[in-house]
Subunit: 337 residues, 2 copies
Amino acid sequence: MIGKINLAAISERTGYSVSTVSRVLSGKAEKYRISKAAVKRVTAEAARCNYRPNLLAQSLRTRQSQTVGLVVPGIDNPFFATLSSVIMAQLSQRGYHTLLADSRESAEEERMALQMFQDRNVEGIISVPVASSPELHEDIGREIPLVLIDRYFEKTSLSYVCTDNYAGAYMAAKYLADKGYRRILAIQGVPASMPNRERVRGFLAALEGRDVYCSVRGDAFSVENGQREALAAFSGNPSAYDAIFAFSATILLGAISALRKLGLAEGRDVGVISYDNNGFLDFMNPPVTRVEQPLKEVGEVAVGALFNLMEARRCGDDAPAPVQQLIRPTLVVRESC
Amino acid sequence: MIGKINLAAISERTGYSVSTVSRVLSGKAEKYRISKAAVKRVTAEAARCNYRPNLLAQSLRTRQSQTVGLVVPGIDNPFFATLSSVIMAQLSQRGYHTLLADSRESAEEERMALQMFQDRNVEGIISVPVASSPELHEDIGREIPLVLIDRYFEKTSLSYVCTDNYAGAYMAAKYLADKGYRRILAIQGVPASMPNRERVRGFLAALEGRDVYCSVRGDAFSVENGQREALAAFSGNPSAYDAIFAFSATILLGAISALRKLGLAEGRDVGVISYDNNGFLDFMNPPVTRVEQPLKEVGEVAVGALFNLMEARRCGDDAPAPVQQLIRPTLVVRESC
DNA sequence: CAGTTTTGCGCAAACGATTGCGCGTCTAAT
DNA sequence: ATTAGACGCGCAATCGTTTGCGCAAAACTG
């Protein structure tokens, strides 16, 4: 602290003014016509005492913090962990740092995180929104470039990059039906959430007009929910359904544990298919057929979009049209149905 | 930006000076004997226009950033994701924000992250160290409170909170031997890393003097490594070993896939036991017996220790003795051996 | 040689907050 | 009535950078 070297220190040691030192060290020597001699002397001294600028002061002055804020609903969820990892890697590659916040699925915590981002002059924000209405995000988006990922709002002017949940669920349901399954139970997650609603739509649409009995139950992306619903569905009648479509890997695990408890074997007695990317699914017995979301692509497209917004902002251009993109997931066929 | 309200704005609107406004809004009204009237007028105006202080300016001036830096070797690894989650929750609860960096197991990236933390005046740092020597961490630890987690350096003055990898591996090996397994293959991770070395020590110590043939192979905490080593071990002779001890869940998965490829059933033909907390292990068939690390406790103790250091620093006390704690993991018995 | 341009650099004002010190006014004590 | 203390508040410096403007000396022009 006390001995921390700053521009003033270098200024003293070299005899040049703080201004000159600053200009040299921030690479503006040409622009301000600083002599070769000065440049040399200053850079030498800076290197000698290992000068590093105070980023807070720099940000305060320039209003550029080299930081973007990222808020997710649960970093301990492997899905968001992977997504965060991809995004942070992209940001880091572009010289940006990450302020990470975990909203824990709470709109209130999300609000606090977003405001904190504002108060720290982040240059951009990437958010997996939790709030049920877009107002806060839109307000902040007017001030700071902001891109939604994984979840989005309908009819919003905000940019978003999500996976096409309708298409994903459609693919899964169609696959089951084509395979000959005729009584399908879909166990869903949080009903109000956009991805979930889209999955329900896709699921139903795929089975529309086909001779398949189907049902959608459940209310959370959790193991417990999967377990509860599977238990409820099969305990009275072991052949109530011939297949389960789990809307997340956690739900799947719950369902499988329920099946086993009832003496039913997943894959053999009841076909199962799942959503999510978890590599563990390959090592289940049998390996689980699933809809995988292209997380890497989502992250990359989102960061790309964000930087476009930031670029425009820096140049004073008015914001480009929002990027609103749904990326198709892929069906990974294994042996569970 | 342009319309952002600051102390000056409130000062104008209320007629009080910036100083007074600042004192009122930062709760120092009493200390500076500001009149009730002024307090009321200022707080009202601040509330009316939703004033929020610029955290950069605040940090610059006070040298308190309400931020701690967290660096992990891979946020996409569920182990570190969970650990990060616990830590961030603890920090958030204490009113602190998190600057997260991912070193991707690279000492160079780790160095950059740590320096960046310094340059942003973080008040504390929690690090899962990647570097092979402690110098950098120790240098920074002299300036900023710093606690290591999960990995530590030998003979360091730094605080650390890790799990007792020796004890964990000892428990696992003893359990296998007690169960009657006599030819045990341990598939390790990165040999040089401290947790790995401790696990090897514990593993060997537990089998010392017992009539058990054992071997340690492998060199990475990856699926591929597990697969490669298991394949190499069993392909010549299907009964070369009767049990596998995987040093991580990823290694386990690789090993299992190799076994299956060779027509061997994990649990029945070859006992398996693993390290790691992944809940998926419960849903394998059979569920996998494993050594679980008390991540929650590690995170909590680490944050506690960090805040003690920070507290001392604030009060100008000299640093308290380093907390150097190894927390015992627990053996979670399932059916795979 | 006077006048213009270029060169090289420093002054000082920002960015938005915090805080030591001191100044005026009002009350109370002598 | 005078003085001391309490009271309420503002001035201005500070944290470490950046940057518009301008000034002096050197170089060039005619």
